[in-house]
Amino acid sequence: MTLTCFHCGLPAYDARFQLTVGEAPRTFCCVGCLAAAQTILDNGLGDYYRFHDPDQTPAAPPVNERDRERLALYDRDDVQADFVRHDSDVERSATLMIEGISCAACSWLIEKRLRQLPGIQQAHFNQTNHRLTVHWNATELRLSDVFIALHALGYRAQPFKADAEADLRQKTARQYLLRLGVAGIGMMQAMMNAVALYSGNIEAQHESWLRWTSLVLTLPVVIIAAGPFVTAAWRSLKARHLSMDVSVSIAILGAFLASVWATVSGDGEVYYESVNMFTFFLVLGRYLEFRARSSVHASGNALLQHLPPTCLKWTGERFERAPVRDLAVGDRIQVLAGELCPADGEVRAGRSQFDESRLTGEFAPRDKVAGDSVLAGTLNQSQPIELEVTRLGPDSSASSLVQLLERAAGEKPRIAELADRGSRHFVLSTLIITALIGLVWWWIAPERAFWVVISVLVVTCPCALSLATPTALAQATHSLRRQGLVVTRGHTLDRLADITDLAFDKTGTLTEGRYRLVSVEPLAGAGTLSLSESDLTELAAGLEASSEHPIAQAFEAAVAHGTRLPEFSDRRQHPSAGLSGRFEDGDYRLGTARFTLDQAVEEASDRRQRVWLSRNGEGLAVFTLSDEVRSTARTALDELESLGLRCHVLTGDPSRDVDPRLADLPLQGDYLSGLSAQAKLDWMHEQQRNGRQVAMVGDGINDAPVLAGAPVSIAMSSGTDLAKQASDALLLNENLRVLATAIRAARKTRRIIRQNLLWALLYNGLALPLAAAGWVAPWQAAIGMSLSSLLVVGNALRLRSF
């Protein structure tokens, strides 16, 4: 007879309380449980009942054989080598990234379920970064059991590869929070004191009690929260270098020790509340700056950490699951729908759509067909697709991106160096000034000398000065990164703010850079050799094979997949002209008419892209190609114009008139065609001599020398070959409007840095005389300084959006 409550599992006396859950009517013990179940269902959390027994312990749905087989791969030592730590002979630990966290109850469920497994010693899931840390006994449990358990619950787990730097950042973040917390408690002491003091007449013994409790509460603040400032100051002194921490430490330690003395001796003033407030706001400012800086790294590293550990590899007969570390360049792999691509590769068979947003910030899925490159860390959204691995591990696009970001973060732009040097001199001069002021006061009124010195030290702390720039730069870099523009040099933002002109390369920049073969027109030579249209296309494709020029892809896409292309020897690239190579007994050339043909031909006047193929100087065919202008080009140019920038087009294409496809673009600047790389560079220098700052936007490969010569270079990059990029910034998606955003961001960054520096100087210039005159009590100084630096950091954080 025993009815049990569907929700809580306790006995239900009768079937009065019923509710349909899923399909079946369920019985509840009381109104409360019924209402709880109703709420859970109403919120779409019905899965709770699927995965939990009534006593809230997780239940395990079955897992099919295929998945088991796949997950069993995690038991292999070579797979584990990457991410499993051997804590002792039998104890292992690993960190896993969990995907599919949809409802907030997930972490509870995961931990509970894992702890039920025999041999699990510890399972901890971190809700904020979706990381699961498990410790288990290898003699009792296989790692695959953990994966199977997670899979059964509907989560996808992936090994998390320890990243020493990220760990360090996390540790630092935790330390900051601890320091903030401790200093926060100290702040409460300050408030308590204030209340007690303002409430009026305190009796002597109460005051003494108040002082002693304040001492006890302030001690941890000085040791834990302010300790790092003191050690940093000590380090910088040993290195014969004056940092801001020196003056901060003198102020904190001085005020604290004097207060301790006053408390113990029962005579003199105490400054506990000043110490607490000063420390709290200092730590807060530093923490905000730290967060802004580390967000840049985190976004890059997230890419690497998500790469899958195994993939389907072609073994000659079929695709089998293999560890990614066993892959080699040239291997054939299959990426199933819903899987992340483990390495950079080129599509060999199948077509699908990939979500590249992690890399490019662009959420619209990209079509991938044979010949397209697919990047590590991007997500296959629709169909299984076969790839040939082209780059792996540290060479992959994802790794390169992280390296680029780190390089930029490691470089200090001029303005930051200036501020740095400024604050160094500043510290020295404040210390000297403070000493002088102290001496003067010692002579006038010795009893006030001490707190005036403390006030001066606190009020002039150049925190705002040293926080202003790094925070602003980091925040701007991070915001741009999220829109798909990767700032790769420290000076990029600074220089972008000065830009007066933008020069665009045409192909692959203003246009999509994807040529399509429109028509093949055989010439006389083809007739004598009796070559068909497809023969001609194959010849062209063979000559273009492995060229990275956009035109090459049009030919590659035009030949049927699996066709054996003619193999050319002595293949050579002629910039702005074409390609040449030998095949059988002929010298073949592909490119402009001037380059390929012996006798001049009249070039057609409709300005469509034409490419000639010739054998020993005799024309074989004319290929007509088309390449569309990017959809964002028009609005982007409009926006750039409204920012007061002149836009130019520099193209190597020979046609002298404005390309009809570009005719209706709002171009204010020059349209220069037929330029060689050298000519583009000369033009750039000429502009510079005229006092104009030009940013060059190109496709990154063909324009490398021009990009290198420009004050600021921005490469349009589909994400391939990031490592080869020498440009100052990379635009990873095809949205040209991000360029306008970048300019706005750079200008706003500069504006904010200037505002911050100006504010810091004004504030210090104003506060110093006041404090020196003895009009500012230490606690007022602490508030002034803190507000000033929080204002600066807050101002910098405005760079989240432009």
Binding site: C8, C30, V31, D55, Q56, T57, A105, S107
Partner: protein
């Protein structure tokens, strides 16, 4: 007064089994446990605030009663305690019928929670807790009956606060601890001890009431 408040807290503490079964499951499903302790705490603070508010209402509502009525209030509270004790002793579920009385009110309140669910911030969890405090619950009514014996807004509210604080340990227990607790609470021996303790409270109240008459 202090003894009463302590008793209320104790009632809250020992009736943890009930809390864990019903509210515990709810907080797990709604994810308060997994959001971190701040959210869980906020939810519980919300719940307890409602209890205190109910105590305030009842206390204020009854403060006009003449002193002669006080013993009868105590007897009423004792009766409620007996009912909940019987529930724990598996002897009868009349308390659930009393719970049903408040169902119409709950039906109106429950939709409010949808606005704040899933609760991601402590603020939302607090508001959800405020509403959930009104969940028809025999235990809360028993405590409320007990609080009514004070017939004073402040003191009744304080007693409900004490009761709520008593339920906290069970509700805040996370991880392995709550699993053990749950298993332990389900043993019939434990239930007997709880039931008898509640009966003892009822007896104590009745004795007080009879002395007052």
């Amino acid at each position: 007064m202090l003894a009463d408040a302590l008793s209320a807290a104790l009632i809250g503490l020992i009736s943890a089994g009930h809390c864990l079964g019903m509210c515990g499951g709810l907080t797990v499903a709604l994810g308060f446990h997994s959001q971190g302790s701040a959210t869980l705490l906020a939810y519980n603070l919300g719940r307890i605030s409602t209890y205190a508010f109910l105590g305030l209402l009842v206390g204020a509502g009854l403060s006009w009663l003449p002193p002669q009525a006080m013993p009868w209030l105590r007897l009423l509270a004792a009766a409620l305690l007996v009912l909940i004790a019987l529930y724990y002793l598996n002897l009868g579920a009349w308390i659930t019928r009393i719970e049903q009385l408040a169902l119409p009110l709950w039906r109106r309140l429950q939709p409010l929670t949808r606005k704040w669910l899933p609760a991601r911030r402590p603020g939302q969890a607090f508001r959800v807790g405020l509403v959930w405090g009104f969940l028809p619950c025999g235990l809360v009514y028993t405590a409320l009956g007990y609080a009514a014996t004070q017939a004073n807004a402040g003191q009744s509210a304080l007693m409900m606060l004490a009761f709520g604080a008593g339920t906290l340990p069970a509700m805040l227990a996370t991880g392995a601890l709550s699993q053990h607790l749950n298993r332990w609470l389900k043993r019939s021996g434990t239930r007997w001890v709880i039931g008898l303790t509640l009966l003892f409270f009822a007896a104590w109240l009745s004795v007080q009431a009879i002395r007052m008459i």
